[in-house]
């Protein structure tokens, strides 16, 4: 895997934690020693508009942007955003939507973003310890437990849809 670049696109609406989720993913990859790039357009994100974030990691990453048709994984926090971002997925790429986790069973619904990272993590060659390290670093101490639970729930959860 070390020669291959893994492309993940995260999408949602402003306020859903898309950028936080991509921060955690990028940090988890960074912790394994891989090259990582993360790119996003966020100028209007606080006004409820669409937000997407691209995370790419591997031995050497060049462009910070995922090209349409080349995403290995598309993680969508808001189902309506799947249509606008599906063209990023490569043939056979994996779409992960909120259906991948039991939202009602999360300790806090705000941690949907982290639960979906848990679902994504099942596919990625990143050790659990690095994910948890990224979560610990990425959130204030009092929110770590809720986020760890959400992550592990997503990681243990049902299979995501294949496209």
């Amino acid at each position: 895997m070390r020669d291959q670049v893994i492309n993940v696109v995260l999408a949602g609406l402003g306020g859903q934690g898309v950028l936080k989720a991509s921060d955690i993913l990028a940090d988890a990859a960074l912790r394994t020693g891989l090259d990582v790039k993360k790119s996003e357009i966020k100028g209007m994100s606080q006004r409820g508009g669409s937000v997407t974030s691209d995370v790419r990691f591997g031995r050497k990453v060049l462009s910070p942007m995922v090209s349409p048709g080349e995403a290995d994984y598309l993680l969508v926090l808001e189902p309506t955003q799947a249509e606008a971002t599906k063209h990023y997925l490569k043939p056979g790429g994996v779409l992960i939507t909120p259906d991948a986790v039991a939202v009602d069973q999360l300790p806090n619904k705000k941690s949907l973003n982290v639960a979906l990272l848990g679902a994504l993590s099942r596919h990625l060659p990143l050790p659990e310890v690095e994910w948890l390290g990224a979560l610990r670093e990425g959130f204030a101490a009092e929110f770590f437990d809720a986020n760890r639970q959400a992550f592990l729930a997503g990681r243990a959860g049902q299979h995501p849809q294949k496209t």
Binding site: L30, D35, K38, S39, L62, S63, P64, S67, P68
Partner: protein, 539 residues
């Protein structure tokens, strides 16, 4: 094993870190996407960073610091450099003593801007050196290099970044911080710094002489580097386009230009000679390709359609394949909108109901142009609502002129609306005019930065407060109203109707804090109360 110093930083954060490591004594700017985070981070890292009323003042403050021998940084978005262009062109003549770097953060593709001007032209027009980083490591390294270049030739240097460089997070490693910079000290140099014509004429010649020397020095500068490859295809590129080009054509030989004004023409000529086909891959205007061709070097450029918007790997592949066929349109996302509880919704509803002709301005409230309001008729640049509204008032037939209002936010008003208000008082239209200042107590669009009207500085610490209504009255405006637009109250409507009917000069300040900062305001106010008795423990 990764080095402990490996960090994943945005380009903006890397510039801020480099500014600290370069010993920058003062950073000044005005918030603007994608440049805003530079000064915020610089301040968090312990640097002295400040928001100025606008980019012109910010650059002038930075020039003063550099005249005093300190290293200074001015940050702005691309259109901000239009505002700061006046001092830029002449500080190129005066030169500086301490290093001076101007960060221009361009926005190709207009993620959050009113145009996609390519500020590389400013380096040529003003005659200043320019560096273009392509990732966070380069943003860091190039800022350090920019200060060295600035001090070596006593010239301001432009660090030209773009949205994808500013806002992409890439892995970088800082170098050891430099030793402490020289202590600021005033050294009189009247002929260099007082630009009366007698001094400016030789200064212009000095500038061109410096540029000739710099161009020669740039021929061997390590900021321009060749990635060797197949000699069938050569690519000349700069900034983020380098990353796209390397990915689109991994086999190609690539000359990456980091120091892009004045250009190393001999190095470029040698590279072009070394490959069979040579093509220039650059985002925005055909700056490099035209300069290279003007030097008599034959290179291919891109089709006109690639002047518009950002480049990415697929677009670079198309350029390399000479494919100028129409590109597939991306599916539309959900556009941003005024927040549900935003006080401006009411204002725009009222303006729509009255069929006002609205000269608008730059900020969140520009979203008043979208459905369901569609209550904005123009938006040109920061502060233009005043002048444009007044011009309309002067020429339209009376029944239309009387419906014209200018709408501007508080931060934008301070930035460049004040001189428009002076214009309103100085050249009043026959039927008066109505200015509405939407005062939400923050620079909301760019992420809630302070400004002179909030009474708080960049780090939210208290300072003197500009009182907009006092300013308007002192300029001679008789009708100045302050009103809180609220659901269930028709006070705003009533005052607006009165003002529209008065045919006098009116300023309505619609004041209510942005709902997104109410929590922060409470904390700050609480903190300020506490500090009167004891030091505050919270940040």
């Amino acid at each position: 094993m990764p080095s402990p110093k490996r960090q994943l930083l945005s380009g903006d954060e890397a510039i801020a870190l480099a500014a600290r490591h370069a010993g920058v004594a003062l950073g000044a700017g005005y918030p603007g996407t994608p440049s805003t985070e530079i000064l915020e981070r610089f301040s968090e890292l312990g640097g002295y960073g400040q928001w100025s009323p606008n980019e012109k003042v910010a650059l002038e403050v930075a020039i003063g610091a550099a005249f005093g021998g300190a290293r200074a940084l001015a940050t702005m978005k691309h259109v901000g450099l239009n505002v700061a262009a006046d001092p830029l062109f002449t500080v190129a003549y005066t030169g500086v003593r301490g290093g001076l770097v101007v960060v221009s953060a361009d926005d190709p593709g207009m993620a959050s801007s009113q145009n996609e001007q390519d500020n590389r032209h400013y380096a040529v027009a003003a005659g200043v050196p320019m560096l273009e980083p392509g990732d966070s490591q380069e943003a860091y390294d190039f800022l350090l290099a920019a200060f060295e270049i600035s001090e070596r030739w006593n010239l301001p240097v432009i660090l030209r970044a773009t949205t994808r460089v500013c806002h992409s997070y890439t892995v970088m490693q800082p170098r050891s911080p430099n030793g402490p910079p020289k202590a600021p000290k005033f050294e009189r140099d009247i002929r260099a710094r007082v630009m009366i014509p007698a001094n400016a004429r030789p200064a212009h010649k000095r500038l061109r002489q410096k540029l000739t020397e710099i161009a020669e020095w740039n021929e061997t500068c390590s900021l321009n580097c060749v990635t060797p490859g197949d000699n069938q295809l050569g690519i000349i590129t700069s900034g983020i386009s380098f990353m796209h080009a390397r990915e689109a054509a991994p086999e190609a030989s690539v000359l990456k230009l980091g120091f892009t004004h004045p250009l190393p023409i001999k190095k470029i000529a040698a590279f072009v000679k070394s490959v069979k086909r040579c093509i220039v891959i650059e985002e925005g205007d055909p700056y490099l390709v035209e300069a290279i061709r003007a030097a008599g070097i034959q290179v291919e450029g891109k089709a006109e359609i690639y002047r518009f918007g950002e480049l990415n790997v697929p677009r670079v592949r198309r350029i390399l394949n000479n494919d100028a066929s129409p590109e597939p349109a991306a599916p539309p996302g959900k556009p941003p909108q005024l927040c549900d509880a935003c006080q401006y919704r009411l204002v725009f509803e009222v303006l729509r109901q009255r069929d006002c002709i609205v000269a608008g301005d730059i900020g969140c409230y520009t979203l008043g142009v979208l459905k369901p309001f569609e209550a904005m008729d123009s938006c040109v640049c920061m502060g233009a609502s005043l002048g444009v509204g007044l011009g309309l008032r002067h020429v339209l037939p009376p029944e239309q002129a009387r419906r014209v209002v200018s709408v501007i936010g508080d931060s934008t008003f301070v930035h460049s609306g004040i001189s428009g208000l002076v214009e309103m008082v100085y050249n009043p239209p026959a039927d008066g005019h109505v200015l509405i200042i939407l005062d939400n107590g923050t620079t909301a669009m760019t992420g809630h930065q302070e400004h002179p009207g909030t009474g708080r500085k960049l780090g939210h610490e208290p300072t003197n407060k500009l009182v907009v209504e006092d300013l308007a009255r002192s300029l001679g405006v008789k009708r100045v109203h302050v009103v809180e637009p609220r659901l269930g109250s028709n006070e705003f409507e009533r005052i607006l109707d009165e003002c529209l009917a008065s045919r006098e000069l009116c300023v309505i300040i619609a004041r209510r804090p942005c709902i997104l900062i109410i929590k922060r305001l409470r904390e700050l106010e609480h903190c300020e109360c506490e500090t009167k008795e004891a030091p505050c423990a919270t940040k």
